[in-house]
């Protein structure tokens, strides 16, 4: 009861002392709203509030660190597959060429993106390039049309907003089962069946290294365009020098070849994009946990200052109360 009396006395003097401590904390730009009426009736920052904030930031740091490790292990698994699949589409390019500049009427842009977020900017770059291709093609002539085939939720969300009428096919949840060639070839089959095309342009992020992902466009031409380009000479001119074996007509064989090329290129593109996604997620989660660490340091400083200020305030109250009683 005596302590309570001392405290009551101290309260009259406290407003003279505490403004200094309060302004010190208020100058910290992050916490203008942490001031409140504590249970003692003295104006001071509540340590409870800062402690809660620290707890949540620490949790965020733990989660992002765990996500980074998960992404790293997934990356390792998929990276070997990707490197093995790279050898497959190179002979096609050697034989049929990769002609991004081929002049065609019906372009189909196949945009490959991820289903889950928190992976940095790779999906935005893919969508930007797809939109750029669309604009490029429509700018060169009125009868040219460009359609989209979208793989992955993130691109779907972005492209559905402004290009809804140009979308032919949307495929999501590609990575539910581990990626394998059979699944992708079935997908490629679906696309070839349902979409009319003269040229297919596959947009994806090529995995150069854990920190570098390059947006790339692979072009697969339909058989008629291949014949046309072969006749006009140039890179595809030596296609005719090959004698074709296989029991069917040359046209049918070229058709089979083009379909096989498309599914191989798709397989490689999907794997590379998955690798890039995991790599981008790793670096995004890494910078996120580092930021959380920084924030935690700042909060710890604030917490200590708050704690010391409240202890000082209480001491001053008690001492001044005691001296008031004496004197």
């Amino acid at each position: 009861m005596a302590m309570a009396a001392l405290r009551r006395e101290g309260r009259r003097l406290a407003p003279l002392i505490s403004p200094r401590t309060i302004t010190a904390v208020r100058s910290s730009p992050l916490y203008p709203t942490l001031e409140d009426e504590g249970p003692l009736g003295v104006r001071h920052i509540s340590t409870q509030v800062v402690r809660n904030r620290m707890k949540s930031v620490k949790n965020i740091q733990k989660i992002t660190k765990a996500m980074k490790m998960v992404a790293a292990s997934k990356l390792r698994a998929i990276q070997t597959k990707t490197e093995n699949s790279r050898g497959l589409w190179q002979p096609f390019t050697a034989l049929l060429g990769d002609l991004p500049s081929a002049d065609v009427k019906k372009n189909v842009v196949v945009t490959i993106s991820s289903d889950k977020g928190l992976c940095g900017g790779i999906n935005s770059t893919s969508v930007k390039i797809s939109k750029g291709l669309h604009k490029l093609n429509s700018a060169t002539g009125p009868e040219k049309e460009t359609k989209y085939v979208i793989l992955g939720e993130k691109a779907k969300a972005q492209l559905v907003r402004d290009s809804k009428k140009d979308i032919e096919l949307i495929i999501t949840e590609l990575q539910k089962n581990p990626l394998n060639y059979t699944q992708v070839s079935v997908l490629a089959d679906e696309i070839l069946k349902n979409v009319e095309y003269d040229a297919l342009r596959i947009v994806f992020n090529k995995f150069q290294s854990v920190v570098s992902f390059v947006p790339t466009v692979s072009t697969v031409l339909s058989t008629e365009i291949v014949e046309r380009e072969a006749e006009s000479g140039g890179k595809l001119g030596d296609l005719d020098s090959y004698e074709v074996e296989g029991g069917e007509t040359k046209g049918e064989i070229l058709q089979n070849l083009a379909e096989f090329q498309f599914s191989c290129t798709m397989f490689n593109a999907v794997l590379e994009n998955a690798c890039s996604e995991q790599g981008a997620r790793m670096s995004a989660m890494d910078s996120s946990s580092r930021n959380a660490g920084d924030m935690l340091d700042r909060l710890t400083l604030t917490y200590n200052r708050t704690r010391q200020a409240s202890i000082t305030t209480e001491l001053i109250e008690i001492i001044s109360g005691a001296s008031a009683l004496e004197g």
Binding site: L88, P91, S241, Y242, E243, E245, G246, G247, F260, C264
Partner: protein, 133 residues
Amino acid sequence: MTLNLCILTPNRILWDSEVKEIILSTNSRKIGVFSNHAPIAATIDIGILRIRLNDQWLTMALMGGFAKIDNNEITILVNDAEKGSDIDPQEAHQALEIAEANLRKAEGKRQTIEANLALRQARTRVEAINAIS
């Protein structure tokens, strides 16, 4: 003049070294390829590929794809391939029996086609083992 053979599947590179001669079964017939062959682009059916290194013959089971022969470089791209020595004889025979049973049970066009395909693949694998021994 050595012939360089490269066998690629979507999952891995199966072979990448020099050989003396290969016998390839395309959709229409079997062709033998030596060095300095004329350029050819061929489709490969589900069947066996025989490779000769010096005096030894090796067999591989291929599950359909393409071959490009050009300038002493043979590139074979297939959906799947297995070396004859890697196939377990027991398991291959069992797979053949299961495939035959499935074919007899199959109803409807799609199941019959799938069963036929599985049967040809199983048969090729059994042939690959037998061809060595």
